[in-house]
Amino acid sequence: MTAPATVVEILGVVLAPLLPGCIQTLKARLQGRRGPSPLQPYRTLARLWSKSAVDPEGTTVVYRIVPPLVAACLIIALLIVPIAGRGAGLGLGHDALVLLGVLALARFAIAAAAWDTGSGFALMGAARDLMIAVFGEALLVLALLVAALAAGGTDLRAMSAAGAGEHVWSSPAHWCGAIAFALVILVETGRQPIDNPDTHLELTMIHEGPLLEYAGRDLAFLQWAAAARHWVVLVLGAELFLPHGRGFAAGLVVLAAEVAALCAALAVVETNQAKMRLLRVPALLGVGCAIALAGAGLSIGGVGI
């Protein structure tokens, strides 16, 4: 019964740009603008695909290999995250920590490309991204720990199954994990109040900064990867911490509804929140870590289960 899940996961490669598209549309509506269509990311990708790429002077093979490598990492990440409790049987496993490693590889690659260009703006963005990642990684691991403690291991399918049923909602640990993971979603998708994806000012860029020099198909790969990152964390959050449907078909419907709801929540947060001062982000993530750790403690202590 892994075949349908495999199909959906591979469909994720196509569907991922829809998520930031929906967020942008909804955000515009909330702000009283008409905004772009949810399909705008596809149009952008198509436009980029028809343009030629540019290499800054003095770059090496690293700069060229990074966009396909980052896109490959995100495809693998898409295949690792299970859909409606099932995983693709493609032999890549479903381990939460491997997912972490693959995302780290993508982050390393992007920062290395920034160094290769030598551009100050790219490096500024990369330095900030990696600084936030230090705290974000600890937070992500702790949020995953809460789910893994319930499952007894880091297989994402088992962790998803452990988050199913009604009794988990009486467990305070689960709530702590959910709150911590909400912060993870903000960090990993690069949305306000952590980062502002709409900025056009180089000095304020975090995730966009290292992409400044890229053009054409290279940029298309990297923009798709940013969209795929939305898919990975939103689906993962829904799988681990939100209610599940019974059976695969129902599970798929519930999952789609939850991901849509999470997109809407992101749009609302972005409309209401200004971007945070960069140096205060670690404090926010530290609070998240404390909440997740409390959740882990409650889970180990067996409170409410």
Partner: protein, 655 residues
């Protein structure tokens, strides 16, 4: 002794002899290069003996004994460390063969290198206390001598003085632990110390932790390491960082895991705490270094911390009764020992090659070396990615295992212990992210972008021997990353409880009751997808253009520096790092004439622990000096006082 075991013993003796002969040959005039080649052959023989003992799982030579007669032998644990020693030692010696000639004191350094390797091997093979302690001291002193043969300026002398002082002060713990064990006849006999009571056990456990921990570079006893390792010649740095601190961990494992009898729970928690402190502290101070070798030395502290986390998790899991997972955690620590030895040797050799080509190891003076030194640069890139813990390389495999072990330690009660494991888990994740930040910086500054100095633009790859050494080590990083599952069961068998439940289901890691890491499939997927997407993209490119700098011309001197890249983190962690900066502006005639900026991050441990300790020591010495007047009459008075005191004591019956 079976036939296989006697073959291993023969190999080991032959290897040690050849190694010693190589050392002698290297000391002769004109025999430097051939001597180092002979040494490499000897090291390879020793490694073969180690692998034989490890895979045959049978001990050879003498067993551990509590008598004082010198004895040598190998068991699987020694065999493992010996194999790792050979894996790093052989390429390192091949590297030295091309690197050492022409450097000051080359013949002396080469001969002492053989002595150092023999001492390391001897510590691993010693089977009684006197031999162990004698070789242990040699292992400390010989590299110091080799460094002083190569360089003798004030910085080096200060570094060596601090190295010898701290390792001897802390190393007293090794003597205390081993002599107490000897007194209870507990060398190689865990039941004996258990019978001696918990007081002796606690004493041995603490003394061994301090003694071996100092030599392994665990925080807060690490202060010597980032000073001593960078001043050594490249191949000695590689051996010291790659192997010497691992041999200290070997001692730690022997005492704490094998001879202590029942290990107390606090020891596991202490190891976790010290490991966390070392891994986070090591990587944080590494981040703010601008000298490549010093940065690498701090990363050794980080990695020893990660190994200590694995060992601590193993103790906690054994305490909770999860024997299979205790063995996996132990194997995770050992796998990281091997992995770190390999990539750290690679990185130090790479640094040596850069220093030779560019003449500087200040990160801000390098740049653009990947294009100009493709072999060295490529190998260094692989080593950097391995130490940053990126899949599918070997660093990720062992860090994944340590993370899994900590997670499983968090599954067991009591809650406090489980929470400690949870905190360690988050700390290790942060450590990995920090290491990634640090090595992106190193790779970016040294290998990528445009050269910052004319010397970098003219740099070329070193001779074939040096290249081969680095490529072999890089290949080992890849291979061990792809097939960790093949090694894991062998390593799990070395755990004190043994483990029958750990079997290799595939070349990657597939553990009971948790997720799996299919390393080969992941690597294939990565390569195939990247190649496919690159092909899909095609090669249509517009003409190269300068990078965007708001319309300004791009000047290499204005490129980002090591300090700039870590600035956000330095600001966020100001409380911990306490960076100091001084800015001097010279004005003249209404214009700014000159701006001098200097910034550095002092080591908090040095400021808070060592400096007060040194001050207190000097004050005590001043007090003690007052007793030494140099006046004969005072000494006569001391003697008189002593005699009277003794007589009084004898009179009262106290003596």
């Amino acid at each position: 002794m079976g036939p296989a075991a006697s073959v291993d013993a023969g190999l080991a003796i032959a290897g040690a002899t050849v190694l010693a002969a190589g050392g002698g040959l290297a000391a002769c005039r004109g025999g430097l290069r051939s001597g180092l080649a002979v040494q490499a052959a000897g090291m390879a023989l020793l490694g073969a003996a180690g692998v034989g003992v490890l895979t045959g799982a049978a001990a050879t030579g003498s067993a551990f004994r509590s008598t004082v007669a010198p004895a040598f032998g190998l068991d699987p644990l020694s065999g493992f460390f010996l194999a790792v020693l050979a894996l790093t030692g052989v390429p390192t010696l091949v590297f030295a063969r091309d690197h050492l000639p022409g450097s000051p004191g080359a013949r002396g350094v080469a001969a002492l290198t053989a002595g150092f390797l023999l001492a390391l091997t001897g510590v691993l093979a010693a089977r009684d206390v006197t031999t162990f302690l004698a070789l242990w001291e040699l292992m400390t002193v010989v590299p110091a001598a080799a460094i002083l043969v190569a360089r003798r300026d004030a910085t080096v002398r200060a570094a060596i003085y601090r190295y010898l002082a701290i390792t001897h002060l802390g190393g007293a713990g090794v003597w205390v632990a081993l002599l107490v064990l000897q007194r209870h006849g507990a060398i190689g006999d865990p039941a004996a110390l258990a019978a001696a009571g918990s007081g002796a056990q606690t004493l041995v456990a603490i003394a061994a932790l301090i003694g071996f921990g100092t030599k392994a570079g665990l925080v807060p006893l690490h202060s010597w390491l980032p000073r001593a390792h960078p001043v050594a010649p490249a191949h000695l740095s590689a051996l010291m960082s790659g192997m010497m601190i691992k041999v200290a961990l070997y001692g730690l494992i022997r005492v704490e895991f094998q001879w202590l009898g029942a290990t107390p729970r606090w020891l596991g928690i202490t190891l976790i705490a010290v490991g966390l402190l070392s891994s986070l502290g090591g990587v944080l101070w590494a981040l703010v270094q601008h000298d490549l070798k010093r940065l690498l030395a701090y990363h050794s502290i980080e990695n020893v911390g990660i190994i200590a986390l694995g060992l601590g998790a193993s103790l906690l899991l054994a305490d909770a009764g999860a024997t299979t997972w205790a063995a996996i955690a132990f194997a995770a620590a050992l796998l990281h020992v091997a992995n770190h030895a390999i990539f750290k040797a690679l990185l130090f050799l790479g640094a040596g090659a850069f220093a030779r080509a560019v003449g500087s190891l200040d990160l801000d003076h390098l740049g653009g070396l990947l294009r100009r030194m493709p072999w060295t640069g490529g190998a260094f890139l692989i080593g950097s990615m391995a130490i940053a813990g990126l899949p599918p390389l070997n660093g990720f495999a062992s860090e994944w295992l340590v993370l899994q072990s900590l997670l499983h330690a968090a599954l067991h009660r009591p809650v406090g212990v489980a929470l400690a494991a949870g905190v360690a888990l988050a700390g290790l994740a942060a450590t990995a992210a920090l290491a990634l930040l640090c090595f992106v910086k190193v790779v970016g500054l040294a290998l990528l972008g445009s050269p910052r100095r004319p010397e970098c633009a003219a740099a070329t790859d070193p001779p074939i021997g040096m290249r081969a050494a680095m490529v072999v080590l890089a290949g080992l990083c890849v291979v061990l990353g792809l097939v960790p599952g093949v090694v894991l069961p062998t390593l799990a068998r070395l755990a004190p409880g043994g483990a029958a439940g750990v079997a290799a289901r595939h070349a990657g890691l597939d553990l009971p009751g948790t997720g799996s890491y299919p390393a080969v499939a992941l690597a294939i997927a990565l390569v195939v997808l990247t190649a496919g997407l690159a092909r899909l993209r095609g090669s249509r490119r517009a003409a190269p253009a300068p990078a965007w700098a708001c319309g300004q011309p791009v000047v290499a001197e204005l490129n980002w520096t090591s300090a700039a890249f870590t600035k956000p983190l330095r600001l966020v962690l100001e409380v911990v790092l306490r960076p100091q900066r001084t800015l001097e502006v010279v004005r003249g005639g209404g214009m700014v004439q000159q701006i001098t900026y200097s910034g550095h991050v002092p080591s908090l441990v040095d400021a808070l622990l060592y400096e007060p300790a040194i001050r207190a020591g000097l004050r005590l010495a001043a007090v003690a000096r007052r007793l030494q007047t140099g006046n004969v009459r005072t000494y006569a008075a001391y003697l008189l006082g002593l005699v009277i005191a003794l007589l009084t004591l004898a009179r009262t019956g106290a003596l």
